[in-house]
Symmetry: C2
Subunit: 208 residues, 2 copies
Amino acid sequence: MTATISTEDVIVDAARRVFMQKGFAAARMCDIAQTAGINQALLHYYFRSKDKLFSIVFEKESINFRSDVLQILNSDLPFFQKLRLMIRKDLEKFRSAPFLPMFVLNEMHNNPERMMHIASTSQHDLIFKKFSTLVEQEYKAGNIRKVCPAQLLLSIMGITMFPYLAEPMIKMSMGLNGEAFEKLMEEREEHAISFIEQALLVDQSVAV
Amino acid sequence: MTATISTEDVIVDAARRVFMQKGFAAARMCDIAQTAGINQALLHYYFRSKDKLFSIVFEKESINFRSDVLQILNSDLPFFQKLRLMIRKDLEKFRSAPFLPMFVLNEMHNNPERMMHIASTSQHDLIFKKFSTLVEQEYKAGNIRKVCPAQLLLSIMGITMFPYLAEPMIKMSMGLNGEAFEKLMEEREEHAISFIEQALLVDQSVAV
DNA sequence: GTCTATATTCAGATAGAC
DNA sequence: GTCTATCTGAATATAGAC
């Protein structure tokens, strides 16, 4: 039983690609049909409307976007290990899906209503709560400098996500082609981890 | 001679607001007309097409977006002062125009051709070059840790811009209303500066 | 299920009166 | 310069044959 791919899946995959690249408003149903190698009427046969099709894609991707960070935070690894792991996991994900951050953030920006629906299934609030607790603990244990957990989380996310959000601008201003940019992103993990650790460490000691 | 605002300016301002919030594809000419308090035909009388109107708005905003960082970098302030000033200036700008980062980055993502046009007038490449030189110098002088200038610049930009790029998600996951978010952004400057400085400082000394 | 052909809707653009 | 009314084209959606 060779798992032949159903037409439905072909469509969703094509839709994913087109929506990710263009966003909802600029995406065209005929592009999606063409990408899927079928015609436009079939899109409507499977998914009643552009809105419905988009919802399916967006929901999937926003689940993919909400990282597996929560498990890492809930594990019993030491704090700096957790930090490293969450940075590594996120960077890996974005490397394999560079459009994901821009897609999700942009659609949230454009369409707050849709976001509300996502809110229920997302775990971002749990991640923030758990992260805050851990940071407070580490501070009290004297392992890291005093820092506002919310600010720290924003900085970490900015450091990992920003390069993908700004990819075209970065390539332009740094004079990079696709290959050079990818190389920079390969090297990013090391930079990000040591940068953040350094910013957090208390002056004298070096926790490992 | 009271400087009565010309219809043209009213339109451009309305267009700016609508385009910034919705992006090119989702923005509607009738929304812009309504926002401007005139009718749609007049838009076309002043600016031939949606494309033309958008170009004008985008060009203005992308110039605004390219910070006055270059002057700061070219000044004769000490390195860490430059760093602080450039962070402060950028955060100030984004606080007064929170949609700016998403608008510019998103349109660059969607429409690389338009970006090419901007490339010529933008100074981002100069900023990167100058910044790199300064970082190298500081490292050689023993004032900062060894760090790849490109990576560092990405981290700084991520730290300052990301909160505005992800504003809706952040509000949601941290449970903030508009006011609380603004407060967080007020406090961001202090966090950002000390975070980045700490990450850069060599272990023993503290340069000022 | 898949297609071609067609209807509908909507947004950008124009004509022409004032 | 500004308006109302209208055209045109494009994009979504449907009808109906196979």
